[in-house]
Structure formats: C-alpha cells, structure tokens
C-alpha cells in the first residue's frame, strides 16, 4: 500500500476540548492524531492522508504578540519532524481571534516553512483582509452551524494541496478570492456570459460580477494658496509633452515613469523642439503650439507682472493613458517628492 500523505492540523482551545473563554490563555498543546474538527475532515480522505498531529492553542495566548515566536518555533520543530504534506487550520467561521490565529499560522507555515496550508472562515472575519492575498482561505458561513457543509470542501482542497496538484480558481475550489487574477479560457464566450448575467439580474437571482470594484482612494483638495505672488509655480502634464525625439523613451501609454526636463532657458515652449507622444488623443494642436498644453508663455508673463513668485525650472511630464492606478499613484508620489524638495508651492497640472 502506498505511503499515506501527512497533515498537521491547528485548532483552538475550545475545539480541542481544553475549555472555553476561561482557557483562552492556554499555551500550545500537541495531540497525536485527530481531534475536534480534524476528525470530520480526515474521514473524507479515506486512507490517502492522515492527520499526524493536531495542535491547539488558546485564542488569547496565540494573539499575544510576545508569545508568537515561541509558537512559531514549536511549529517549525514539529514540521521538521513530521514533514507534513499540508497544514490545515480551523474552520474559524466569524470568530476574530481564532481566525487571525488560523490565518497567521497558515501564513507562517506556507511562507517560512514552505509547506502548503489552508484554513477556512467567514469572509467578514478580520483575518481575511489581513491574510487573504497570499493564503488560501475556504469561505464558510458565519457560524459553526455551517460546519458539515464546509468540512468536505476544506478536506478536498487540503488533499489537493498535499498531492501537489494545481489549485483552480477561487469560485471552483471554494476559497475566498485572493486578488490574484490570471488570463484563462472560460468554457463560454464573453457574449454568452454577459447575456446570462443580465438575465440572472433581471430574474432577481444573485449575480456574481467577474470584475469586483476595488475602492478608489480619494485625494483631498489642497488648501488655497495664501500668497500667489511669492509662490513658485510648476508645470506638470499627463499630456505626453517631451523634447523632440523622446530622449528618455517614455511610453505613449501604460506609463510607469515620467520625464523631467529643464525649461529654465525658455520664454515659451517652441514648437518643433517639443512634441507630444501621447497615444490617446489627436496631438496635432499641441505639436503646433506646445504652450497650449503646458502654458509656459502665460506663466512667464504672470511672473514678469509679479502675479506669481516664479516658474519652476523644470517640466514634469508623462502620458496619462492606460496607466493602472498603482503605477499612477507611484508616478504621482515621485513627482510630488521632486516638486516638494524644489520648494514648489503650486502646480498647474494639465491633462488631456
């Protein structure tokens, strides 16, 4: 008979039968074989895998930061000794401390000890937002009333991990989406799916959008400028204006960088010396007169009249098209550092 695959299973003091809230400060205990929900999970594996050790810890003890190194090293020792094929924790449902403990030990085992791990909990458990990005968390109902529904899913995913098989998409395997998304071929076309989705919505059925909306960060408006006459003003544009020939090879879309060019010697931006490489609008007018994108000519006359304190010596420029938000934020932050360190007090940002 083939050698059995091996699992280590983590639960809390309650499921281990050590005690309830009054024993939440109990330290780490190790049991040979199955205990608590591990019993229910293990029976789905028949003879293919067994739980070699069930470990349990009080929810308060494990969540006390100063205790974690001790727990981590005990788990490391156990893993070295057992050499498990998978590490399982929970299900924690919507229990916050238990959920964080399950997710944290799974995260530790997976990333520090290189052993596959899986836990299970409700999607609103606070541990989910902390750990879901790089861990497998099977979705559960809110309370332990859903135990019998969840154990077969947890068992199946644990076995898959132990076998070293590829884990499929979240909706197929039943875990909470991690945010990782990869291109694949669906069994149906986009056209079929969008019509089905609309019909489901019209029929009042629950609809799972395929592209979740992630929240945009809102940027508060800057306070008004107190004294423009003593403020250094800078020109920044996402309209893709660069010196002719695009010396830094800025991209015309999907930007990750920006250019910084001296305009110190210029009274205005001469056409012919500068051009827009932007890939999203008709750049003819800008190429005819770049000052209509970055109004240096107007700023110079305002400075001459003393209406503004001065014009900063550089033009910052990138192409605002197709850039994802993370890259956009990064470009903006780097620009802001450069502007701040130069003592710029106001920016005219022209988009297109």
């Amino acid at each position: 008979m083939a050698v059995k695959l091996k699992a280590i299973y983590y639960i809390n003091q309650f499921y281990a039968g050590i005690g309830g809230e009054e024993r939440a400060d109990a330290g780490l205990t190790m049991f040979d074989g199955v205990r608590g929900p591990a019993i229910g999970v293990a029976k789905f594996w028949k003879d293919e895998m067994e739980v070699v050790k069930t470990i349990a810890c009080g929810d308060n003890f494990v969540n006390t930061e100063s205790n974690f190194p001790e727990i981590a090293s005990a788990i490391r020792e156990l893993v070295d000794q057992v050499k498990p094929d998978v590490f399982i924790a929970g299900p924690a449902f919507n229990a916050g401390r238990y959920g964080v403990a399950c997710a944290r030990v799974c995260d530790y085992v997976r990333h520090e000890l290189d052993v596959s791990s899986v836990t299970a909990m409700h999607h609103e458990n606070p541990a989910v937002s902390m750990y879901v990005k790089n861990n497998l968390i099977v979705a559960t109902p809110e309370t332990a009333a859903g135990m019998s529904k969840i154990l077969p899913r947890l068992a199946a995913l644990a076995l898959k991990l132990a076998r070293g098989e590829k884990v499929g998409p979240a909706a197929v395997e039943g875990y909470i989406p991690t945010g990782h998304r990869y291109n694949e071929l669906h069994e149906k076309t986009g056209a079929q799916r969008v019509v089905e989705m609309l019909l489901a919505k019209l029929g009042g059925q629950p609809v799972a959008t395929e592209i979740p909306i992630r929240t945009f960060e809102s940027a508060p408006a800057a306070p008004p400028i107190a004294d423009l006459g003593s403020t250094l003003v800078a020109l920044v544009t996402t309209g893709g204006l660069v010196p002719k020939g695009n010396p830094d090879g800025l991209r015309q879309a999907f930007s990750t960088t920006y250019g910084s060019y001296s305009i110190e010697q210029l009274e205005f931006i001469p056409s012919g010396d500068y051009e827009s490489i932007h890939g999203g609008y008709d750049t003819t007018i800008v190429n005819d007169d770049p000052n209509r994108l970055a109004p240096l000519d107007q700023l110079r006359s305002l400075a001459a009249l003393g209406k503004i304190g001065g014009v900063w010596s550089r033009l910052l420029t990138t192409c605002g098209i197709g850039t994802n938000v993370v890259n956009g934020v990064s470009i903006g932050q780097r620009m802001a550092v450069e502007l701040k360190s130069a003592g710029v007090g106001a920016v005219i940002l022209t988009s297109t």
């Binding site: 998409p169 291109n183 986009g190 056209a191 989705m197 999907f254 197709g322 956009g328």
Partner: protein
C-alpha cells in the same frame, strides 16, 4: 424587419483559373481578384494576396480591418453589402444575404509613420498581430477562419485619409467579389432574423454598442459616414448583420473591433438566439464612445438610456470599443440605466498588473456596475513563439514613440501587455478569454 442569412460554409480556399464556390471550396481566380483590387488603387502601388488556413503555423502582422464577405441577393442594396461604403447608403437589414461563413478578408499594410500621414500620437496604426496557433490563437476570431490576406504596397506621399479610403474600398470590393460566387447556389443552412414575435412574459433587452471614432485611422462608419458627431441612435440588429457599421479603426490592436465582428456581433447573435426563449431582443442603441469631455459623455450616455427606455427595455447589455476613455462612457450609461430602473450588465477587459493584485481593475467604475464580465486582463506578459511563416511583412513595426523597433516577424517575441494582439480586449465578447480570480 426580416432578414434571411444564407450561410455558405467555407472548408477550403484555393487559387484557380476561375472563381467559383463548389462543395465548400472557394476557388479564386487570382488575376481577376487582382484586377478587382487594383480598381481601388488611389494610394496603393500594388496588392498581393495570401491564404492562411486555420491550424497553420503562421502569423499575420500589420493587420488593419477584417471583413466578412457577404452579398445581398434580395432586398435593397442587391449585388453588394456594406451600404454607404459600397452602394447607396439606404437602410439595410431586410431580404436575403449570402454569407461566406468561415472566410475573412483581412487587410495588412505597413502604413507610413511619417508625420504627413500619421500626424498624431493617437492617429497611427499600431502593429496588430494574429497568430493562427499557439498561446494567442484564441484571442482573435481569426484563428478559426480562412483568411484571405490583402497585402498592400503603398504609393508614397499620400495623406492618411487617402490611404485609409483606398485600403477599405479595396477590401470591400474583394469581399463583394468573393461573396458573389455564392449567388444562385444552395446554402449549407439558412437562418431568419426578426425581432417580431414578442412574448409579453419575457423581459425586453437591448444592446448598447459604443464605438470609437476620433479621426482618420480611428474611425467607425455608419452607412459610410464617420460617427464622430453622432447623436446616439437606434439600429435594428439586422442592419448590423447586413454591414451598416464598417470599421476604420486601427490605432490600438487590442481594443478595436473589426467589421467582421460588427456584422457577426457575438452579443447581438446571442441576444437573437435567446429572442422569444428567455428575452425579447428590443434592438441596438448605437453611439460613439470616447466622447471628449465629461459633459459630452453625460449627454451621450443619458441619451443612450433614453433610447433604451423608448424601446421599453427592462435591461441592457453595455459593450464598448476602445480603452479607458470609452470605459467612462460605458460606466455612465450603466449608472443612468440603473437609476432609471433598468438592469445593466457589461463586458470589458481589465487591468490589475501581472498577478491581478495591483490597484483597481478598471479605469473607471460606478457602484451600479455590479454585473461585469471579464474579457481578460491586458496587463499580462506574453511570449509569442517562432512561426513557420509570417504574412504581411518580414518585421514587426513597434515602439514608434521611441524611434521604432523592427524585430523579425516570424521569430519569438515577448510583450509585457496584450495590446498588440488583435482583438484581445474581447469587447464584443467573441472570445472565451477572461481573468480568472484565484
């Protein structure tokens, strides 16, 4: 309106001494085809042809528009298709149309990059790539069709408008010529399209189809006229099946929708398939995407929803051609629809970075957009393999803004996004590509 499409299934295309369609084989007289093509020769020095078959280890580069060969055999516009571009711009969508199913006429041309012909950062064609096999084969519909590729050599010194018109006219004439081989023949199958027989117990659904039109090389034509200033309008789906929309949009290969997909619009065909079964197909609201300001976008998208309301729509499918700019128009339309008590679902490509975790997945979204189908992420790196042959040119034409990069077209090449892959934005829902959530 009733339209019968007679489908003639193309199982092979071979050069011959006369043009004829028999037993699923399209025999083509190459010399005659050349004469047909040359008659549109303003701006074109010469054309050559290539036949590329499904399953062939081949790559087509410099792809512009792709056309479905078809011809009207009964009803207005008889003897041609694509009214307004070919023939009079009279309302189409009734009678009988012969379609060469499984055949595509594909334009390939190295359009000049010089400022006289491509004066703008936006308005020049970026290299569009079709692979018949391998990792990107499923991204476009054309790995499944026989592709008669027209390879154009251009006269120097013409304007972009002249090249654009000559290339399109030539392809449509070639398409007409080939489709005429079916006249008088018995089709493999016929299908009748009508939105009559409305079942009052079923919800009414319309398609809102928004297309890019920003100037030469980024145009969409409605009955032969660019839609730059189009007020959203109403189309019978049969008009689209008969070619009232023709694409002249070559600027971003991933995001463009070729004529072939306007006339075989996968969402439109899906809605037709379900008409009378679980929905009533109420019609198509057609508008321009890429409206220039938020003000214009509000005006256009609320107008689209108004038209849907006039059709008594209970729901709409929102689909658009183009990138982030167009997404704003689409999202506003979804918002207005939901606020008016309609239900809306949409389809779009997404972002998300190499592993999908980076930032927001869409350039724009509204809370009402809670039923969006993923057409795949464009921010995925790709390695295209070596191919046995490349059609359309010996070299890719890439990175114009950095002075150009021209690696050999038949060799392996890596990209960090899918933007050069023809139709990979999946905006008409033709493909099964999607970003799976892990």
């Amino acid at each position: 309106m009733r339209l019968t499409r007679q489908y003639f299934c193309v199982r092979d295309v071979v050069w011959s001494t006369s043009t004829e369609f028999a037993d699923g084989v399209l025999y083509v007289d190459r010399d005659e085809l050349k004469r047909v093509a040359d008659s549109a020769a303003q701006g074109i020095a010469q054309v050559d042809f290539d036949i590329v078959a499904p399953g062939e280890n081949a790559r087509i580069v410099h792809v512009l528009d792709t056309v479905q060969p078809m011809v009207k055999v009964e009803g207005a516009g008889i003897g041609t298709a694509y009214p307004g571009c070919m023939g009079d711009p009279e309302t189409t969508g009734e009678g009988v149309t012969n379609v060469l199913e499984g055949l595509a006429v594909m334009e390939s041309a190295p359009l000049p990059w010089e400022s006289a012909a491509a004066s703008s950062g936006l308005l020049y064609p970026r290299d569009a790539i079709v692979d018949m096999v391998g990792p990107i084969a499923e991204f476009s519909p054309f790995s499944h069709t026989f592709n008669l590729v027209i390879c154009y050599s251009l006269v120097e010194g013409k304007s972009s408008a002249e090249y654009d018109r000559a290339i399109r006219t030539c392809a449509l004439r070639v398409s007409d010529y080939l489709a005429r081989a079916t006249v008088g023949k018995v089709p493999d199958r016929s299908e009748e399209f009508t939105t009559d027989n409305v079942n009052p117990d079923l919800p009414s659904v319309v398609l809102v189809w928004q297309c890019q039109s920003q100037g030469v090389y980024a145009s969409t034509f409605l009955y032969g006229h660019p839609i730059d200033n189009l007020v959203p309008t109403l189309l019978h789906p049969n008009e689209m099946l008969d070619g009232c929309i023709v694409s002249g949009n070559y600027v971003w290969p991933a995001f463009k929708v070729p004529t072939y997909l306007h006339v075989n619009h996968p969402i439109l065909l899906e809605l037709y398939k379900r008409h009378g079964v679980d929905l009533n197909f109420g019609g198509v609201v057609f508008s321009r995407s890429h409206n220039p300001t938020h003000w214009h976008k509000q005006r256009s998208s609320s107008f689209c929803v108004k038209l849907a309301r006039c059709l008594d729509a209970d729901g709409l499918v929102m689909a658009w051609e183009g990138g982030g700019n167009a997404a704003v128009d689409g999202m506003l339309t979804i918002r207005y629809a939901e606020r008016m008590g309609m239900r809306a679902a949409g389809i779009t490509f997404e972002f998300g970075g190499p592993d999908g975790t980076e930032g927001d997945l869409l350039v724009d979204s509204v809370p009402e957009a809670n039923a969006i189908v993923s057409g795949g992420s464009i921010e995925k790196s790709l390695v295209l393999p070596d191919v046995a042959r490349a059609i359309g040119g010996d070299c890719f034409r890439l990175n114009k803004e950095s002075g150009g990069w021209f690696p050999p077209a038949n060799r392996s090449i890596a990209f960090d996004t899918t933007t050069h892959i023809y139709c990979s934005g999946n905006q008409a829902g033709h493909s099964r590509l999607h970003a799976a959530a892990y």
